[in-house]
């Protein structure tokens, strides 16, 4: 017998799975009976925020928490405008780029419309579309990357948005300039193209098609960026969308004002000001982590996928959730990939050497255990 409250809920919400965030670390440590926990599940930058952002955080005056933040992130948008040489009005900042995903979908989709993205990518595009009652057309990856031609074929008159995660989480693949160009010519302005560049700062390659430049030639392109990844401000929740002024104006109409807090706004702005050294050392850390892990995966005979970004995916010799539980018992938290539709893969964030060595030693243990048939 369903509760009357369920009768108030539209079917697409009833069918929808509420996202279950992981429990707080202290609770997980108690549950798994460990005294430390390495968080390698969320692609966080373990180096922490760049120095100027740290200074902003340290100098925050507690009494100023009483005042509302700037409702439209005025100064942060000024800084973004200067940084990218664009009108600040073309930026819309949200409570993490996740909030902006919702705003874009609300702005452009109407009953019966659809969005197109990949089956094995960041889940939020699909989730927001489905719980808003819009169809998400999921295109299988091709060679672990977004399949531009299949995405174009999937378009119809009701397609409003194509989400391209470039580089893709979790495979780290990205489209080069010519592929992006071909794709955008194929879309031919018929729908909005979102380029989610959450991991853009991890790519140091001439051939990477920079969304900030592309949007000047393809007016239907909007770009998402975030301060959660490279800039290590995930806890403050700041991300943004940038596009043509008219597109951003429409998105703003669906967007909640005052959603970005007073600590996040100046910290994000400061992070942009001295990021060169920070980006260099983060990239170096990631490269060293890859140099340690990837040969070790080879040695274990386990296939892996690792491209751009501060994460690597490795195939496991047993169910990913079993590997997760066994790693948790050893104080290491990774991401299981069944929910990304990569059953029997895990994803691990690439961080400093000592933690990577801890991970590797726990992972080797668990792989041995599983191979000997000793784990469940």
């Amino acid at each position: 017998m369903s509760l009357p409250i369920a009768e108030l809920v539209p079917p697409h919400i009833r069918a929808f799975e509420a996202y279950v965030p992981s429990r707080p670390d202290a609770e997980l440590m108690r549950t798994y009976k460990v005294d430390h926990l390495h968080r390698l599940n969320n692609n966080e930058n373990a180096l922490g925020p760049p120095p100027a952002a740290r200074r902003v955080l340290e100098s925050f005056e507690p009494p100023s928490a009483a005042a509302y933040p700037s409702g439209d992130c005025f100064f942060l948008r000024q800084t973004l405008g200067e940084r990218f040489g664009k009108d600040p009005e073309r930026f819309l900042v949200g409570n993490g780029s996740c909030e902006v995903i919702a705003s874009v979908i609300k702005a452009f989709c109407d009953k019966g419309d659809n969005i197109i993205t990949a089956d094995k990518t960041f889940a939020v595009y699909e989730w927001v579309a489905e719980f808003s009652g819009f169809q998400a057309r999921l295109i299988p990856l091709r060679n672990q990357g977004f399949d531009s031609e299949a995405m174009l074929r999937a378009m119809n008159g009701r397609t409003k948005i194509l989400f391209v995660c470039n580089p893709n989480n979790p495979t780290g693949t990205w489209w080069k300039r010519d592929e992006m160009e071909r794709f955008l010519r194929g879309v031919a302005g018929r729908a909005i193209v979102v380029l989610d560049e959450a991991y853009r700062e991890y790519v140091d390659d001439e051939d990477f098609p920079d969304g900030m430049e592309i949007m000047e030639r393809h007016k239907n392109v909007v770009v998402f960026r975030t301060f959660s990844k490279m800039y290590a401000l995930a806890g403050l929740r700041v991300g943004y969308v940038c596009g043509q002024k008219d597109a951003v104006d429409y998105i703003r109409r669906t967007h909640i004002v005052y959603s970005v807090n007073s600590l996040g706004q100046p910290a994000a702005a400061a992070a942009l000001l001295d990021d060169a050294e920070h980006i260099r050392s983060t990239q170096a850390m990631v490269a060293e982590a890859k140099a340690l892990l990837l040969p070790a995966f080879d040695e274990l005979g386990l296939p892996y996928v690792c491209g751009a970004g501060n994460f690597a995916m490795v195939q496991t010799p047993a169910s990913d959730s079993l590997i997760y539980r066994q790693l948790m018992r050893r104080g290491v938290m990774v991401r299981t990939m069944t929910g990304f539709r990569f059953p029997n893969w895990i994803r691990v964030s690439l961080v400093q050497q000592p933690v990577m060595r801890d991970f590797l030693s726990a992972f080797r243990d668990v792989v041995d255990l599983v191979r000997q048939g000793g784990a469940a």
Binding site: M1, A15, E17, V20, S22, R23, L28, T31, Y32, K33, N41, D119, A123, E126, W127, P317, A318, S319, S321, L322, Y324, R325, Q326, M328, R329, R335, T336, T338, G339, F340, R341, P343, N344, A375, A376
Partner: protein
């Protein structure tokens, strides 16, 4: 999830026998509209009459009785929602024997119980749920009739590539599903197949109605190459059957590939749903290696009753396990701790003592499902009561007697460890000859403990 909105009829009736004809004619009408034949219609209206008459006498009088009749695809369901009052639902027990000769109850009370017993036996399934604060829902289902069909033994030689899809609505997909069910029924042990594979039209209707979800593999020419199906089990898990693969080539290359594709597509399909885990109590030997974890096994006698063989149970999480709490009687703690440790599961084990629960009612209630073809009975406690131990023992003997000439069925009992009162029943269950065998994570409101009746074996 069915695409069309379910057909459903709801009536609120004062608890007064004067409205009996209203309830009965609503049932008759709904049964016909919902596709039951004459016999099914009779069964359903009889059940509604008996339930209604009984509830008019014993249910709480402060609220109307809510009668809901609904179409479930392959069955019609009647549900009565009522407030407890003086209700004893002992007669709904599979083993209930209403003793007309003795006891303090008046003869007419017993006659009323007898009616309830008749009603519960003539329907195909009966169950009771308490939705808290003295509100109960009594449901009964009557199945539509489907013809039985002989399994298909024609060998299939298939042409790659294999493709896997969710069958869409429509006669073409229905035909393919029926074909695949019959191919599976021939190739796999009866125990590994849902009963509906032997009534393939029923299976196809179950898929259309969303009772089962299915994935169908086809070869390059469109011939059925494999099948995997699943359904929800409790709010947080799915239970699957299969994979069934049909390629007859002796090298099994294509068969293995088909099984892998089916498993992968299955996990993709359920990965972003509400389900936290997937399991199978009857996996086939074609489950690809390394994809599921073993939960342990049951010792089953098999359909022919000859020789015992282990039946593995498999499972996997679809998300990261965040731990949880279960209730447990102290006698059961060593078993649970061992199992959870083996599975690397983190659970807080909470102590459920019989003294902490109040046996408020005299009579307990057990749900029984008996699959004669597979020789398997599953018991579930629905309501606690002072007579639980005797009631359970009566169920065990009734099940053995039911078998008559054939071998007695294997008897399992499922305990939902989210309910302290169920966990507290453990010593009584043990005393009846059951042993704990498996934990099915998240298969109920929380983990389910599967006990198996063993004394009959020795």
């Amino acid at each position: 999830m069915p695409a069309h909105s379910p057909q459903c009829l709801t009536l609120e009736l004062p608890p007064d026998v004067a409205y009996l004809p209203t309830a009965a004619s609503a049932a008759e009408n709904a049964a016909q509209v919902f596709g039951l034949d004459r016999n099914g219609t009779l069964k359903l209206s009889l059940a509604v009459e008996e339930f209604f008459a009984y509830l008019c006498r014993f249910a709480g009088r402060e609220e109307p009785l809510r009668l809901t009749l609904s179409q479930g695809g392959t069955f019609v369901r009647v549900a009565f929602r009522f407030r407890a009052g003086d209700v004893s639902l002992r007669a709904l027990n599979f083993a209930a024997q209403v003793d007309l000769a003795s006891g303090p109850d008046s003869l007419s009370d017993q006659a009323a119980e007898l009616g309830l017993l008749v009603a519960s036996r003539t329907t195909d399934r009966c169950s009771m749920e308490s939705s808290g604060s003295g509100v109960y829902v009594l449901t009964a289902e009557v199945d539509r009739q489907y013809p039985e069909a002989a399994p298909l033994c024609t060998p299939q030689f298939l042409i790659p590539p294999i493709s896997v899809s969710r069958p869409e609505d429509g006669p073409l997909a229905k035909g393919l599903l029926q074909h695949a069910a019959l191919l599976a029924a021939e190739r796999y042990p009866v125990r590994a197949c849902p009963a509906s594979f032997f009534r393939p039209e029923r299976f196809a209707d179950m898929v259309t109605a969303g009772q089962y979800q299915a994935l169908l593999a086809q070869d390059a020419t469109g011939k059925p190459a494999g099948l995997l199906c699943w359904r929800a089990s409790g709010p947080k898990s799915v239970v699957f059957s299969g994979p069934y693969v049909f390629d007859a080539a002796p090298d099994r290359v294509l068969a293995k590939e088909t099984a892998r594709l089916l498993a992968e597509r299955f996990l993709s399909a359920v990965a972003r749903t509400e389900a936290v885990c997937a399991f199978s109590e009857r996996p086939t030997s074609d489950v690809p290696e390394g994809w599921f974890e073993s939960l342990g096994s049951l010792t089953l006698r098999g359909e022919d009753g000859e020789g015992e063989s282990p039946q593995a149970a498999l499972f996997r999480h679809l998300r990261e396990d965040v731990g949880g709490a279960v209730w447990c009687h102290p006698d059961l703690t060593p078993f649970l701790e061992r199992q959870y440790n083996l599975l690397a599961f983190s659970r807080d084990i909470l102590k459920a003592e019989p003294t902490q629960t109040h046996h408020t009612t005299e009579h307990s209630l057990l749900a029984t499902s008996l699959d004669r073809r597979r020789g398997l009975a599953i018991l579930r406690p629905l309501l606690d009561g002072q007579d639980f131990a005797t009631n359970l023992a009566a169920h065990v003997s009734a099940l053995k007697e039911q078998a008559q000439e054939g071998p007695p069925p294997d008897i399992l009992l499922h305990l939902d460890l989210s309910e302290p009162w169920q966990a507290a029943l453990y010593p009584a269950i043990r005393g009846c000859g059951f042993e704990p065998r498996l934990i099915l994570p998240h298969a109920g409101a929380s983990d389910l403990l599967v006990c198996q009746h063993v004394t009959a074996h020795s």
